[in-house]
Amino acid sequence: MKRIRIDRLLPSQLLATCPARSATACSNRISQAVRVSKLPAPTLQRLSQTQIRCQSTEALSPDAIYEEGESSEIPLETPPDEGPDYSKMPLPSPHPDRARLSAKLSALHARLSLPSKLSVEVLARTLVDSSADAHPRFNNATLAYSGAALLQYHASEWLITRYPRLPMSILFAAMKAYAGVPALYQVAHAWGVECAAAPGEEVDPGLLQYAHDRATVSMGKWGYVRSESKELQRYKWRRGTSSRVLYDDAFGEMVPGQKKVEHDALDVSGGRNTKDLLEDDIKHTAYANFVRALIGAVWLHSGRDAAKAFVKAHILSRQLNLSSLFEFKIPTRELARLCARENFEAPVARLLSETGRLSRTPVFVVGIYSGRDKLGEGFGPSLDSARISAAINALKAWYLYSPGDVNLPSDMLSEDAAPWKPVYVDIGEVIS
């Protein structure tokens, strides 16, 4: 009986164990989840099951990379003499060999027209959330991590080259609308993925498996844990846009600190605090992690181009009206600042048309001009609201400028790529 020690694995085996990232909370959480000594009692018992499965060779998934010879050199950690009979205990997730027998799984494989290189066993692994099976060789945490990186890369390069003048806050919101958890949940639902009532060995491998009562590891969070994250959450400190770019994840949301979670777990007393402590939505996160893991699996098994095509077909082809994301506070002042910055003449609002000024329902049409150029036009029931809506339209026309289809930076990765033509990216928003 022998046991793999996660800490001693070679770097080439990292994908199968945990993502090589020390600065964030997620990798810490994974490695902590694997270590038994730090865990509370109910998880301890579950983990001992997963370790036992690692000991039996028949349960290894086909894509596990490590070899028998290497693992035999690793010394034993615990004598397996005492304790319950682990071979009789059920596995936390279905056996990988059962993937071939699942009709649901092969139907899902065909429905998504996944490449044949991506076997159904890998597809089955992407359906196992880390809350269902804590062992990183059998859950989708590592695949979800790489998939999230790819997805956010492709989404952000597509948004930035297509809409080079988007303000940062709008870019964050657009990223979330395409690649955030709610969007990925809808994507997984539109694929016809159903979830199992509870994870276990006997569950059909074609069902998404996650535990309702245990929090999932928040995968796909790229960003730094701020040292002041506790105060930011508790006192609702303001986070500036630049620091959100620098520290936070791809959607401008703070990466929750590990310390904060542990600390709050101790001093939670009222019902108000427990709500902050729990994972926002375990179900939605599990579905989103499945989509990310599938992108990671496509990338791992059929390459970069297939993963990019998959992201484009399933995520970036969704529709989002970017102009509905904007909310302005003082649009007229911002338009004036914009004209000053771009050396346009100062904007002037002119009444173009009106009707029923003295009636109950007047309508004014106002255009905003800079010199002889009309920047925008809007209408409203009063002169002021018409001017504001005209300013908003002018600002949206500026910010939503699109050069059309241009080359993406990732297009240059293919060998027969045309020479790179620099794309235009604006210097940023007007007032931040």
Partner: protein
Amino acid sequence: MTIRAIEKVSVGQNGLGAFILQCKKMDIHYCDYSGSSRGMNAFIKSQLSNFAKAHPQIEFAVSPRPRKHPVLIGHYINGRTKSICVKNMDSLQVLKKAQLLRDASGEKNKRVNKPVTSISESVRGVWSPYHGNGMVV
């Protein structure tokens, strides 16, 4: 920060990008004894294997239902089901019904009286009485 962002979620348009067949599962119930499922039994023997091979994205479940009429039940991605009783039909008619279930979207049948349905706004825009030169009456 004068610009604030409103959170929205992008809307998926099936077929724009990837196409996902909406029928995800088909239950096929038959009876060995009664005459009303003679055509269904012939369908299962002769045509079902080819039909299932042609549609790997649909999960097929064949199960006997003794002393009942034969039924085809389609399960759809939106969570609805559609069931068709295929009693006394011959195998070709049953195949037609299976194809009908395959092609259905799972939505309730509704009357379509507009040639185009779209979520994006019209390119031409809405007519406005405040623009243009107007016509002198």
